[in-house]
């Protein structure tokens, strides 16, 4: 008599939880029991429509039907409306796959996120998981490296360095021990793609790292995860154990002669640990002081051994490339930016979330069409792209395409693909001050232009904000910025002038201040 249970999806993604998904899942369970209905509640990742979270989906004969945003108090009414068979209700959004936001995307890396049970290896396999790894196991390391090169994949962590070339260097290096390190520090404001992947499809990252290990001949790997992500941490600890138990990693990767031992390590609240050499120092247990390059980590990385350091999204792109072929991946994108980019839209925006698309969509299409403009309803004034070291753009500049070179041409950067929207209440002089303040707090301290320069920058901005000798202090600001750009060892000090100068150049009116009545200093 027991019918097959209805599958109901309630996300376990941290962002969904942050607006009440746990209470919704409990309410669904309670209500189903009270009504004697047989349901299976799947805790999936988020589809990325974060403004609709908690978004509950129900599996029906015609596909998955979405409802959202659902509060726990709505659940009884949803059952009343027959939502377990897709019934009509004010919160009914329609078929998930046919929602505008979903239809516009080209999801390769995020193809399973929100669809599967992230902890289930069976679900992962049923949705195409392991195919890339199986194909890689039939190839030599050199052939895998060639495929990654041919795909045109560039590192998604910020600098956009070709992943295949990095792997080739490690592949060609001779050493008794090599390492794979996944940079999951994701410290940039406005970025959350790495987190969503860990919470929504963690085996994909493990699969990508394992392919890298086979390609270059590494037997140990580390995922360096920032401590600000406790949910992702819990998921990763569980999935690594399950991946080992299933023979995906460990002494023998899927029955082959390759061994790959994987561990997750937690950072400790330092932004600079996202810089790859600083991350390696941290993994070695030291203060995370940036190393001079060369030597490249590819040749002398973790514990002095050849090491692949890649971003989460770079590793996660590889299984798709191995499965569908390098050319299929390269067919997406524009110019020298091939494949797809997971874009993260946040800040003061109506519909924020994650969008995966081939390179080339414009910022305006993302923010206005997909994002629906500002949440406050006020005009957009500034948009920061590429994290705290990225430039601020004006509302007039939004027709730029999302592409490494196109953004660089306007003195901006793509970074990890984070977009932060500000309305017209923003004070750009304060944002410039914050950029220095952040650098002063998070600098590793190794070099003077960054360590001292950032502090001087805060002081100078304070004087400008107080209206004290503004032209003179703006000259100081430009000088300081030039020095930091030219003489810093890494991009922390070297790029901090990017948000500062873009704010100054595009929004000079915010810097042109009358003296305060009680002029400080």
């Amino acid at each position: 008599m027991s019918a097959t249970p209805v599958r109901i999806f309630v996300p376990v993604d941290a962002a969904a939880l942050s607006v009440g998904a746990e209470a919704v899942a409990q309410a669904v369970a309670r209500e189903a029991i009270a009504r004697g209905l047989s349901v299976e509640i799947v805790r999936n990742g988020s589809r990325g429509m974060l403004w609709l979270e908690p978004m509950v989906e129900v599996e029906t004969a015609e596909g998955r039907i979405a409802y959202g945003p659902v509060a726990a108090k709505d659940v009884a009414a949803l059952f009343e409306a027959g939502f377990t068979s897709g019934g009509a209700h004010a919160l009914r959004l329609g078929k998930t796959e046919e929602l505008d936001w979903m239809k516009r995307q080209q999801r390769l890396t995020f193809e399973r996120v929100g669809i599967i049970d992230p902890l289930s290896i069976a679900d992962y396999r049923a949705h195409g998981g392991f195919k890339g790894l199986e194909k890689a196991l039939a190839l030599t390391g050199g052939e895998i490296v060639e495929a990654v090169k041919a795909s045109g994949l560039r590192g998604r962590g910020g600098a956009g360095f070709p992943t295949g070339i990095k792997w080739k260097t490690v592949h060609d290096a001779k050493a008794e021990q090599k390492y794979i390190v996944c940079n999951a520090d994701e410290g940039d404001s406005g970025t959350f793609a790495d987190r969503m992947l860990f919470e929504g499809d963690p085996y994909l990252v493990i699969e990508g790292m394992t392919i890298a290990a086979i390609a270059v001949g590494a037997t140990r790997g580390y995922i360096y995860l920032r401590s600000e992500y406790p949910h992702a941490h819990r998921t990763l600890l569980r999935t690594i154990l399950k991946a080992e138990a299933a023979g995906m990693i460990g002494a023998s990767v899927m029955g082959s002669q390759h061994a790959f031992h994987l561990e997750v390590r937690l950072g400790a609240g330092a932004y600079i640990c996202g810089e790859e050499t600083s991350l390696l120092e941290s993994l070695e247990g030291k203060r995370a002081i940036v190393r001079a390059k060369p030597p490249l980590p590819a040749l002398q990385g973790l514990f002095g051994k050849p090491t692949v350091v890649n971003n989460v999204l770079s590793f996660a792109a590889v299984p798709w490339i191995m499965d569908h072929g390098a050319q299929a991946y390269a067919d997406y994108g524009m110019g020298r930016s091939r494949g797809t980019l997971p874009i993260q839209l946040g800040g003061n925006v109506k519909r924020g979330g994650l969008i995966e698309l081939a390179f080339g969509i414009t910022l305006r299409e993302i923010i206005e069409d997909m994002g629906g403009g500002t949440l406050s309803g006020r005009p957009i004034r500034a948009v920061q792209v590429g994290g705290p070291l990225g430039a601020y753009l004006t509302a007039e500049q939004l027709d730029v395409q999302m592409d490494y070179e196109a953004l660089a041409a306007m003195r901006a950067m793509l970074g990890h693909g984070g977009i932060v929207v500000f309305d017209d209440s923003v004070d750009m002089a304060k944002q410039a001050r914050f950029a220095f303040e952040f650098c002063a707090k998070e600098s590793c301290g190794k070099c003077t232009p960054c360590r001292i320069g950032a502090t001087r920058g805060v002081e100078t901005m304070d004087r400008i904000i107080a209206g004290a000798e503004v032209p003179k202090n703006i000259a100081v600001l430009r000088d300081l910025s030039k020095l930091m750009t030219d003489a810093s060892l890494c991009a922390m000090g070297g790029l901090t002038p990017m948000p500062v100068l873009s704010a100054l150049n595009h929004f000079p009116e915010d810097f042109d201040r009358p003296p305060l009545p009680l002029a400080a200093e």
């Binding site: 942050s18 994701e186 600000e228 003061n348 952040f438």
Partner: protein
């Protein structure tokens, strides 16, 4: 909510010994000590140095480098409030002002009794900010009243 036991050198020693075999064991050890006691007591320094064959200066240097590691006992509840750009765009600085003006809670000053609010930069919830992390759980669209309530809650228990 965590109610931490007082620092105990013997159990600290066991924790250190249990993790010493890891490659680059320092951070895992510091995290484990902090998870257990809520902070890393200076007494841990010689212990770690000896087991990992490091100088005390190296261990102390690591502890002091990272924002996460605390060297004094912590309030029972710590609320980490995001003050990075995306949350700024959504008014987190207004939350900070209101906390101090209306609720008498100064962010990043550790004198708020059994609860403290501290700054972090980005919790990966940038589309649903302002965001805060409370006892390991993420909260979106947070305002000053909610945070003040969570502080009270921290004291009551």
């Amino acid at each position: 909510m965590a109610a931490y036991p007082a620092w105990d050198q013997d159990s600290a020693r066991m924790i250190v010994a249990g993790l010493a075999h890891l490659e680059g064991a320092t951070l895992p050890i510091l995290h484990a000590l902090q998870d257990e006691f809520g902070y890393v007591d200076p007494q841990a320094v010689p212990l770690i140095a000896e087991v990992l064959n490091l100088s005390r200066a190296e261990v102390h240097g690591a502890i002091s480098f990272y924002h996460d590691f605390k060297t004094t006992p912590q309030p029972r509840r710590t609320i980490k409030l995001c003050r990075a750009e995306a949350c700024q765009a959504l008014g987190c600085e207004t939350v900070v002002d209101e906390l101090s003006r209306t609720h008498g809670i100064a962010v990043d000053s550790h004198h708020a009794g059994d609860a403290a609010v501290e700054t972090v930069y980005c919790l990966g919830n940038c589309a649903l900010g302002p965001s805060a992390l409370v006892d390991g759980e993420l909260i979106g669209r947070v305002d000053a009243a909610r945070i003040a309530g969570l502080c009270q809650h921290g004291r009551a228990q």
